[in-house]
């Protein structure tokens, strides 16, 4: 039985939970980086020895990227920093929001989405990154505005079979590149920006998270700042898929890694009421790419008034797929039956910012 590693990034440190019995019981270990927030984690299983990558930020001493090749026993960083804005940009790294290993056929490529709004590419497994100039120099840049959490690229999707990339930023929306990041276009047609005078702009949407269907980057899901959408043309156009949900607001969306059409969202009541509807924390799962939704998640709490942030939800690569949710009151729940039921893995941690899980060989 393979071991399952769950990494939990919080406002005040990093914890690991590990299960050796198919996710029935877990042992919790930590904290690492106590009193530093960990908003980005990647478990890169493309290597013979899995590499952990974390974005860490100290309120005092700033952000950095660190890696571990021994599952957290030791951590390393480049003296000069993995991510440094070139001098001509006049910018400084504020926070690493996303660390995303590329496909197996590009084994050393890792992407980073950062604040201020930027995308970075590493060709050495995440030890150092280069600014993706095509996006940084995009003429829309001056009009990208920070959401409440800051102005950042928070979602990065790389097509394993081509040079296509899709990113999402708040605010700004979805941007698409078909040439590995050299050129970019806004890709928001159909997504509402109801909070703007023109609710259907080319860009400026507040897309909270995007995920690629198991069929690949041609089919995408988006949880917007009000609005749940699907694209069947790699993001060129979007259609609403929110019928059957109790709310179209939320922060996260997850797609099944191997079964087409399955995705999950975690609805919150509204922009003005960022708590689970009726105080019942639940997942909603679609088995038909958003044609219909079913409430799932027995074992998740009632009388619960906390939210799940955009990266505090993930799926694993085990069979059947595990679903993980972390809450702002420091609880982490795991489902080993694709969301039907959940059990508590950890409680009383600091606010959970991100969770990532992977099977270790």
């Amino acid at each position: 039985m393979a071991s399952l590693l769950l990494a939990i990034g919080t406002r005040k440190g990093l914890w690991f939970a590990r299960s050796d019995d198919d996710r029935r019981t877990w042992s919790l270990e930590g904290p690492h980086f106590l009193m530093r927030e960990v908003p980005a984690i990647a478990i890169d299983t493309r290597r013979a020895q899995p590499r952990l990558l974390v974005g860490v930020r100290s309120e005092h001493w700033g952000p950095t990227v660190m890696w571990s090749d021994d599952l957290g026993d030791s951590w390393h960083e480049r003296d000069e920093g993995a991510i440094r804005f070139p001098a001509d940009t006049g910018a400084a790294l504020a926070r690493v929001w996303q660390l995303q290993p590329d496909a197996a056929r590009r084994p050393d490529v890792v992407w980073a989405g950062c604040e201020p709004t930027s995308l970075w590419r590493s060709e050495d497994g995440g030890e150092s990154f280069s600014l993706v100039r095509g996006l940084w120099d995009h003429p829309h840049r001056s009009e990208w505005a920070p959401g409440y959490g800051g102005a950042a690229v928070h979602s990065v999707l790389a097509d394993p079979d081509s040079e296509r990339l899709r990113v999402a930023m708040s605010t700004g929306g979805v941007y698409a590149s078909d040439d590995g990041g050299t050129s970019w276009r806004a890709s928001n047609h159909g997504i509402s920006a109801y909070f703007l005078p023109n609710p259907h702009p080319e860009f400026g949407q507040c897309v909270h998270k995007i995920a690629a269907d198991a069929t690949g980057i041609g089919c995408l899901y988006a949880q917007n700042h009000h609005g749940v959408y699907r694209s069947d043309d790699a993001g060129r156009t979007w259609m609403p898929i929110e019928d059957g949900l109790p709310s179209n607001f939320g922060f996260t969306v997850m797609a099944h890694p191997s079964t087409p059409g399955i995705a999950w969202v975690v609805p919150l009541t509204a922009d003005s009421e960022r708590v689970p509807p009726g105080g019942r924390l639940r997942c909603y799962r679609t088995n038909d790419a958003g044609g219909s939704w079913n409430e799932v998640g027995s074992g998740l709490p009632d009388r619960c008034w906390v939210s799940v942030l955009r990266d505090a939800a993930t799926v694993d690569d085990a069979e059947p797929t595990g679903v993980y949710l972390g809450t702002r009151d420091g609880c982490v729940y795991v489902s080993r039956d694709e969301g039907d039921s959940f059990a508590l893995v950890a409680a009383h941690l600091p606010d959970v910012l991100t969770v990532r899980a992977a099977e270790l060989g």
């Binding site: 009193m35 100290s58 309120e59 005092h60 001493w61 700033g62 950095t64 960083e77 003296d79 000069e80 920093g81 440094r84 804005f85 001098a87 006049g90 910018a91 400084a92 790294l93």
Partner: protein
């Protein structure tokens, strides 16, 4: 020579030293001190200054007991024998 006193959280980035002596010119500034310190300990410099060379918001730097934010910032002069004291400000929740 100027003495730089480091907080505990940063000492491992300077080989474990609480005090690091930095040689600066007679008309040197706090900026000279921090950049020379950073040349020897780049990971330490990143904790103090961002890529634009700005002192991080919650890093406080004192020269002989005076906050450089109330003087001339990184252009604050440092005399030979001065003590540059780096402290974390009271911040966080």
């Amino acid at each position: 020579m100027v003495a730089v006193l480091l907080p505990g959280a940063l000492q491992q980035l300077a080989g474990g030293a609480r005090r690091v002596d930095v040689d600066v010119p007679s008309d040197g500034t706090v900026g000279d001190v921090l950049f020379r310190l950073g040349a020897a300990h780049p990971a330490l410099q990143r904790r103090l200054l961002d890529e634009t060379g700005t002192v991080r918001r919650y890093v406080n730097v004192y020269v002989d007991g005076s906050d450089i934010r109330h003087a001339s910032g990184l252009a604050t002069p440092v005399a030979d024998g001065a003590v540059v004291h780096i402290l974390a400000s009271v911040a966080g929740g």
